[in-house]
Symmetry: C2
Subunit: 380 residues, 2 copies
């Protein structure tokens, strides 16, 4: 359907989803929820607004500047309009569902808002969906969440799903074990973020050997895991590498064909993630389709792993469900409606009697079929 | 699952939907959307916030005191957090979809917020769903919307669905035709609202005859239509009665078993509705399940009829979908997962190896089935 009026009707970064986009979005969300649900993830739904201090607690602090505030006239306290749902789901898991058996599997979907868009993503309202697996530290939990998210996206028709695995705690742990000074750590971090191998070499021992190798640990999973395996890592760093190896093996078993890459020095999300983190990509997508990893949930700091799916981005890389045939039914004749609907057809009732040319009327109403002399015919 | 922490965590009137409520809500919404969609209603999704003046335009003005406001840092203009979606859908229909062929059938669902709850309904966030049929004045349009909303609720398992039909324009039209003074009209309206037949009789001619009869036109549809039919109404009022008769006949054809009542002097919603309006009830519900009627859409004042479904109220009167069997799968053994899931089962993976008593573990994880020696067994 055409867009006849200026979008200036709506504030910047906000938009109406028209047909067929709104239905496609619902299709993505219900597909994800059905897939997660089939694996034991139960749906929760936190409110759109809640007290600012709960919403922006702990890891939520990162969303503070993105969050609209409104005064609650009842309590006279400030409330925030959520910019992210994961903090809310962690709150539910660790408070209201504190006594539910572990591991606790939850999934969710809803709208989030942010105060301002960016140049790259001007949108200010997004559909977020996700799953959280709370109360297990097992590598099998990491693997389950990764494989489930990637599998659900593939099931929705996303072509060429790939997962990039990161170890955001590896570099800090190594820095500690090597007793690098804060200044050296800052220089090193900058060099690693820019993948600047020359700068790393210039830093001399003990940085140049280990990090010079680590910076090359980026790319196809088997190559990287072999390279990582050859490194002589101190104990804490070696444990993290071994865990990554375990998770990779488990993901492989769950999804043998999945394209996997590793970037051992990737740092994003470090403030939040406490172990393996990951991003899910597909060719042609505007950005990541999903992002997740290990974290600690709630004030109780429960071990958890989760994944957020960016539904709007997913919508950009899947084909909409095939158009269903639309049958224009004669005025007052609904006898056939249910039978056609049960075969997946859409039926559209004529609301006026005596329309002379039902085929022309069907075409006008974007129907693919109409009834003539009791027979269903295709619009020519 | 149990509620272990005080609800004081959330502002008054806001709540977390826990399992199984969040899934039940999604089930209601997807059922409604699927049903409306099968009848040609296409989904739209307006944003949660938009400029105050658009949101509170025309019929939206009624929601003004319920609407949270936030400043838009981009435009420096005030935005409102919607308290109702029908105004937004009418805006979409009459602006962005102004050139889409008529009749235009749209459906929608989303969250709405209001600043304060009431004693009766303390909630401040609701799930709204609905359908709008825009650009037709035919009685068949009224009947379609009524039958579709009632039918979708019945299909969701609501028992004893009944529709109360109202004619909010009848009394004002009669007052005009009888040239009653504003004072008399006010007294009459108060008497009718209280169904006070004695007060109506005391008002003498010409009020007492006509309105004394009209006030009795409330109840089972056949009785009321017969009574209305016997009234000697002036032309404009008679036209409205005849239209009601047409709509009743058409609804009967679409849903022969539907329980119908009529209240000819019911006044609620008059400010908004321009023709027949209706409310849908069911025994045991906290209030109306749905409400709708004729109105004029957008600044273009297009003829329209629509219906809003109160999803939270519907949830109170339907049985949740039957629990699906939950199968606890042994560690690392996912081979069977897809096969069981395709039969509608939920599979839950063990995340640790070497659990000695899989039946006890299945019970602990609220599973109904587990695997022992390669066989699926029921938890005893």
């Amino acid at each position: 359907m055409s867009d006849t009026v200026s979008k200036a009707l709506l504030p910047a970064g906000l938009r109406d989803f028209l047909p067929p986009d709104a239905a496609l979005e619902a299709h993505v969300v219900s597909g994800l929820m059905a897939d997660f649900g089939a694996h034991g993830y139960e749906r929760v739904k936190p409110p759109l607004i809640e007290f600012e201090e709960n919403l922006l607690d702990g890891a939520g602090a990162a969303t503070s500047k993105d969050t609209f505030r409104v005064m609650d006239p009842v309590s006279q306290r400030m409330m925030g309009l959520r910019a992210d749902m994961t903090i809310q789901v962690a709150r539910i898991a660790t408070t209201r569902l504190a006594k539910a058996p572990r591991p606790l599997r939850l999934c969710y979907s809803g709208q989030v808002l942010r105060v301002k868009g960016t140049q790259l993503t001007p949108e200010r309202q997004f559909t977020q969906a996700g799953l959280e697996l709370i109360g297990s530290d097992s590598p099998a939990a990491d693997a389950e969440v990764i494989a489930l998210a990637a599998g659900a996206l593939a099931a929705l028709g996303v072509q060429g799903v790939s997962v990039d695995l990161n170890l955001p705690t590896l570099v800090p742990v190594l820095c500690d074990e090597l007793e690098l000074s804060p200044e050296t750590q800052l220089r090193l971090r900058a060099a690693l973020d820019q993948k600047d191998a020359a700068a790393v070499r210039e830093m001399g021992d003990p940085v140049q050997d280990l990090f010079g190798e680590l910076i090359r640990c980026s790319g196809e999973v088997d190559t990287v895991m072999e390279r990582l395996g050859r490194l002589d890592l101190p104990q804490a760093a070696a444990q993290r590498r071994d865990r990554l190896k375990d998770v990779v093996a488990l993901v492989r078993r769950l999804m043998p064909g999945l394209s996997l890459t590793v970037d051992a020095v990737e740092n994003r999300g470090f403030e939040y993630h406490t172990g393996i983190s990951f991003s899910i990509f597909a060719p042609g997508a505007r950005g990541e389709l999903a992002r997740g990893g290990r974290y600690r949930a709630g004030t109780a700091k429960e071990k958890a792993v989760g994944c957020t799916v960016y539904v709007d981005t997913v919508m950009g890389v899947i084909a909409p469900p095939a158009d269903r045939p639309r049958l224009l039914l004669p005025y007052g004749d609904r006898a056939q409606a249910a039978a056609w609907q049960s075969k997946g057809w859409i039926t559209v009732a004529m609301l006026e009697d005596g329309i002379a040319d039902p085929e022309a009327e069907a075409r006008r109403q974007r129907c693919t079929h109409y009834v003539s002399n009791g027979q269903v015919r295709t619009v020519g």
